[in-house]
Structures are given as C-alpha cells and as structure tokens.
Symmetry: C2
Subunit: 275 residues, 2 copies
C-alpha cells in the first residue's frame, strides 16, 4: 500500500467502503473477508486492519461478531453517503444536505458585532466582550432546512484581518473553516447538546414553518488547544426534514430539576438566538 500522508488504517476504511459500494466483496453471503484475509490482501498487519474495522463499526457500516465474522450493516448500503460523512472530521451542512441527494445552498441572514451578554458564560468571557455573530440559513433544494447561529469572540480574530471581516465574510464556510481562516485556530473538541424545541415566530419565519412547530436544536461549544471555548453555535433543524442517526446509544442527559424561568428581557443576542 502506498503512503500519502493519510494513515494506512484510514486508507483501508475508504477502500473497504468502496468494496462494499461496488458489491465486489459480498459475493459469498454478506460477510466481509476475515481479518487475517484482509491483512494479507492489503499487505498490512492485522492490528491495522482491526483499526480500520473499528472505525467502520463506529460509523455503523459493519458489524463484528466474535467467533463468527464481520458483516455489512443491513442499513448501510442505501446510505453510504451518511457513513462517509460520519467518518469525516467536520462535515459541512452543505455536504450533509448534498449527500442525501438534495441541492444545497446557504444564505447569510446577518453578520454583526454584538456584546456577549448571556453567551459570556458558555464562552467563558465577560458580558461586554464583543462577539462576531453570524446567522445563516441552509436550504435543501430550496426548502429552508437549517438555521445556524454562530458566535466567536471578536478578540480571537487576527488583528490585521478585523477590518475586512464583516465585508469579506463568505457564508459557505463551516465554523471550523472560519476559525482557521480568520483566527488561525483549530477546534480540538466539541460538545453538542441535542434538544427538541418549539419554533418561535422568528425561527418559524426563517425556516418557512409554523410557530410552535417542533424543531431539533443542537447547541454546540467548540474548544481550542488550551481547552478554552472558541465558538458557540445554536443550530435549528426542521423536524420534518432532518433527524439524527446513531448506531449506538447516545448519552442521555437529564437537566437539573426545573427552576424559576429567567426573567425576560430584550438583549442583542436574542435577535440571533431566537428562544
């Protein structure tokens, strides 16, 4: 096997995926060749084969049974695009939409500088810290499917790039690409919390939906090299268009017992947060 800056195991992952895709490997039943067989066939050690198979199993593409063999997952053949996206490190919404056969596009709703306000806490900043706030809509074949609001401390933007930010921003890049280009930072770790919420008037309008309609809400915080928060994201997905798939169990997280609702007030970030 040839080495080209990507690990042998990862090359194997996509080669096996291609074999599944083409159907070549499945002639005898639905079973993949044994690990010993694969290691010989590709000229790598069995440990490397096992690492590749572990990734494919995590992605839901295959199933391994001790003492029996390795199977192709029954639901994977029709959704190889999703598996490939899972194996990607940071797929974009555009990729996700297109991998399901839709035509994808993104429009910028708003970008501006606002004070951190209530976002100071998750971002570990002071409330007066200026944030870059970006609001975008992603459409699947003209149907608005996702609203994405992202917040990054303006102080993180490279000083010489700051003047150009609001005018030169291009909305098709992911938040990871944004942080790379404008802040020279990399996201090392991310926490995503998935909730169900009811659409408010603003979100209903943006997503061409009805107020009160159920939405999937994903709240993200990305952490950088020193484990300090780099960005805060609040994404809403139209429930009739989007769902999430897990091949294993997700972590269920119970909130603390209900408390008195926080007092309502008009804050700059509400324009983006829409809760």
């Amino acid at each position: 096997m040839v080495r080209k800056n990507v690990s042998l195991a990862n090359q194997l992952v996509f080669e096996i995926l291609a074999l599944i895709d083409s159907g070549e490997i499945l002639s005898d039943g639905q079973v993949l060749p044994s690990e010993a067989d694969l290691s010989q066939r590709f000229g790598v050690s069995r440990a490397t084969v096992r690492e590749a198979l572990a990734k494919l199993e995590l992605g839901g593409a295959i199933i391994r049974r001790h003492g029996v063999g390795t199977y192709v997952s029954p639901m994977v053949t029709s959704h190889l695009g999703s598996v490939r996206n899972w194996l990607d490190e940071a797929p974009s919404f555009i990729d996700l939409i297109e991998s399901e056969g839709y035509r994808a596009d993104c429009t910028l709703v708003d970008i501006r500088i606002i004070p951190a306000g209530a976002l100071a806490q998750p971002l570990d900043l002071l409330p007066a810290t200026p944030l870059v706030a970006i609001s975008r809509i992603f459409r699947a074949t003209n149907i608005p499917a996702i609203h994405s609001a992202n917040f990054v401390s303006f102080d993180l933007v490279e000083p010489e790039l700051r003047p150009a930010l609001l005018s030169a921003y291009t909305c098709s890049q992911t938040i990871y690409e944004f942080l790379q280009q404008w802040c020279k930072r990399k996201v090392y770790n991310q926490k995503s919390e998935i909730r169900a919420v009811a659409a408010d008037d603003r979100l209903a309008d943006l997503l061409d939906s009805s107020p009160g309609a159920p939405l999937l809400c994903v709240e993200e915080v990305g952490y950088g090299a020193t484990m300090k928060p780099l960005f805060y994201g609040l994404n809403h997905f139209r429930a009739d268009l989007v769902s999430f798939i897990e091949m294993h169990h997700p972590t269920v997280w119970l909130r603390p017992p209900p408390q008195a609702a926080a007092e309502k007030a008009t804050r700059p970030e509400d324009h983006f947060l829409s809760r």
Copy 2:
C-alpha cells in the same frame, strides 16, 4: 493487574475514571500522565493504555493532543455519571435518570398482543404477525420524563414461556434484558433515529405535558445475531427534562423529499405509537 473476565483496557478505563474522580492524577496542571507513564504504572503495554484512552476519548472524558499530552475534558468532572453510562453497553432508563440525581421509577401502562400492522416493515415481518407491545412511563422524582413503547414478535418468545408472559412481565427490565430472559436473544446492533415531534393528546396526557409541546423522539430497531430485527422501540422524552449530548458530531440524516401524508386510520398499534 489482575484479570477477572473483563479486559485490561476496560479495567484501565474505570481506574483512570476513578483517578480523575478523586483528583489524585491532576496534581500537576490538568494533564494525565503520559501513555508511557501509564503503561509502566499499571504494568500493561502502551497499546492497551491507548485502547483505554481511546474509549475515554470517545466517551468525552479526555482530550488527546498530538505532541502535547492528554487532558481531562473540561465538562466531564461534573458529569462523570453520564460518562460511565456512555461506556456502559446498554444502560437502562432507570440508571440514566438516577445518574443525574433523580429518584427513578417505572410504571407499566399496558402490555398486550397486537398484530404487527405498520410495524411489519421495520421488523421485517408480515402485517398479521402477533407482537408483544409494551408501553411504559419512566418518572424522574415523580415527573413523567420518558414514554417508551417496545414491540417484539411474539414468535420470538420461547414457546414454553409464552403462557406466562403477560402476567409475569416485570416492567423495570430493559428491552435487552427482556429479549434475553424471554427470547434467549442478544441485541448485536442497534439503529437509533432522533427526531423532534409535537406531543399529541395521548402523549401529552402520559407525560403530564401539553398537546403540541416539543418532544425528543428516539425510534430504535435492534438487530440480532443474524442481523434480523429483534425489536422496535419508540421512545418519547420530555424536551424540558431531557437532552442528548454528543462529544463529536452526530450523523445528520435528511429525510427524502416530503410526500403526501399517509391516510389516517385507526390501527391497533396507534394506541402505542401515538403519532
């Protein structure tokens, strides 16, 4: 290290978790000892240490940085219970609720035999096949938090156990334990789809909520040794109490373009499905 039927790597996982919990290991900064250090300290090879660290990283407990070191995840110390649950193979709703400090209990709403109907498709059965249908409510300190409906082909139940099923069923066991006890089957693989839905009248009543209130809905299909479906589960979580956490990105799944809604009809499974 002593071997007691659980792998060295898994023992290491929980020993490291205990070290994090006790704070012993974090004296110098927030960094875990190096892999070489850990392998020497516990008397195992570095490969085994790496396997344990990989699991901890997947569970969101630690963060590894190439060339730098291994850190304890910033959000993990306050939620070690959730991490331990994630590392479990099949945690029960009871465990999940209790790990967050609530008092958990389960009540049986209904158990009966119904024809498969619309569930014939996901379960790969004929519509007339009899199913065991189980409807349960899980409460967190008396607040109804989860409604769980599970469906298993009655033919899977061991013939000699069938007469006793409806009367001897105990509702506190997980669907995995149910399949083990009554069907002698093991779930090898599971697909979970996460959606947002609005509560209908029935679910609102069961969950002490309002019709139209957003709910997290998790639809599961568990597969057995031969990759045939063993059970179908439809779980609804009150959105104000439950959310899911991912330490990496979930797989986003777009539905096919909207189609005409299926015609409404009164079917036996609707009593359980409530959609």
